[in-house]
Symmetry: C2
Subunit: 287 residues, 2 copies
Amino acid sequence: MPGVAELLSEAAALAERALDARLPAADEPPARLHQAMRYAVFAGGKRLRPALVLASCRACGGDAAAAEPALAAVELLHTYTLVHDDLPAMDDDDLRRGRPTCHRAFDEATAILAGDALQAAAFAAAAELGAEAVQILARAAGSRGVVGGQQEDLEAEGQPGDLARLERIHRGKTAALLAASCELGALAAGAGPGRRAALAAFGEALGLAFQYADDVLDATASAAQLGKTPGKDAAAGKLTAVAVLGLDGARTAARDWCARALAALERCDGCAEPLRALARFVVERDR
Amino acid sequence: MPGVAELLSEAAALAERALDARLPAADEPPARLHQAMRYAVFAGGKRLRPALVLASCRACGGDAAAAEPALAAVELLHTYTLVHDDLPAMDDDDLRRGRPTCHRAFDEATAILAGDALQAAAFAAAAELGAEAVQILARAAGSRGVVGGQQEDLEAEGQPGDLARLERIHRGKTAALLAASCELGALAAGAGPGRRAALAAFGEALGLAFQYADDVLDATASAAQLGKTPGKDAAAGKLTAVAVLGLDGARTAARDWCARALAALERCDGCAEPLRALARFVVERDR
């Protein structure tokens, strides 16, 4: 996948700067809150969403500077959801990317508040791009997007699962924000409705491919590969693609959604590499 | 205080409609999440913030229809902060306005997610007014506003308190969003920077007056008057104005901030009643 590593590392460097500029200093009062926000944000994630914003923006003729507010917005939003998902009342995780989760490193109240403040910061960043960007982010973030997906995920624990429910969860938890990332990148470049819709469809399909691939990795990869305990979702009674479709079925679904993502790009003039490469990376990665 | 009761009841009716129109139906999946959001929002609050938006908008020549998105935005934001503040890891409250708190009526995970989704809905509503409205709301909501105030409030528990810390907490927890309510009302009416700044200063002073009056009420009113257990903040080791200044000192501070709020109105041509009446109401109410 030529160019993916370069794109991810470029997006990561851009994200570090963009996020740092939009967060209060760690010693500004209330310092514990600002430290917790920065701890969660600067945790060495893949920065996949910033890479999608950057590549989508470039595909529509924009540059890195144009992509910056949107790229900060989606990563701040994503980070807040991780902090809240890890809470004891939710997935109750002690580790994320090999480090203590935010509520473990600080305390539960601080983690809830750090997540809340990161969400507000995400919308402040989106507003730099205009009100339409805020609407796109709010739709992806709200009860019909990320938050709704997490609620359905929690409610599905220990329940008999079907494919419709699984895809509703994946669409909410993952695909909604990946679609918004691509659409915001296009918006930042000044793209028209047609290209914006095509890139949103690409991001949505990519999000589903990503989640199927994630479920396969969770069932097959080693702890060293993943940086976390594999099989944890299945052990927690979570609804997973492997449980519903079997390992081969989940692999096929990942490839199928990757193909749909690539097909969506056909509707977007000039949207070629590196978006294509990102789509293949998402299903072929080993961690 | 002529007109205050009418203004509050008009704002409440307007808020019911504006909020209902901006929340998914209670039976839309995930239904439990949408029920929790509506449970928290339609709980019979005073709707003071919507009244401030409406009165500020009218003072600047706007009408109720213009005020509606901003009024929904501040009340959605305020409601989410109440849901999260009540959580076991925070203030651990079982009752609010005489009913079980959201995490008691539903469960903790649902309450966290309902709060998160309400925050996203608040920004979606603000975006109807434009990107500047989103920036105003984000500033009031974030780590330098409401969330920062709650963090400082939690950190101050059981600590020796001084006036500077107390006012920092009050400014964050209450005054920031009251200032934003007034400023957003002015923005919705198309007011220029001068009037917007004057109304923001009014709202900020009013917020401090409100908090001082609240601390006095908590120390002196009966449970029947308040609809909650009085003295709870002091018993929980919270930093209160009565502990720092004594009862008379807290009363004086409330009146002093009310006078400053009224003085800020002098800088705003035509901003007379009912904003003046609201300022007096805030320090003279008995619940």
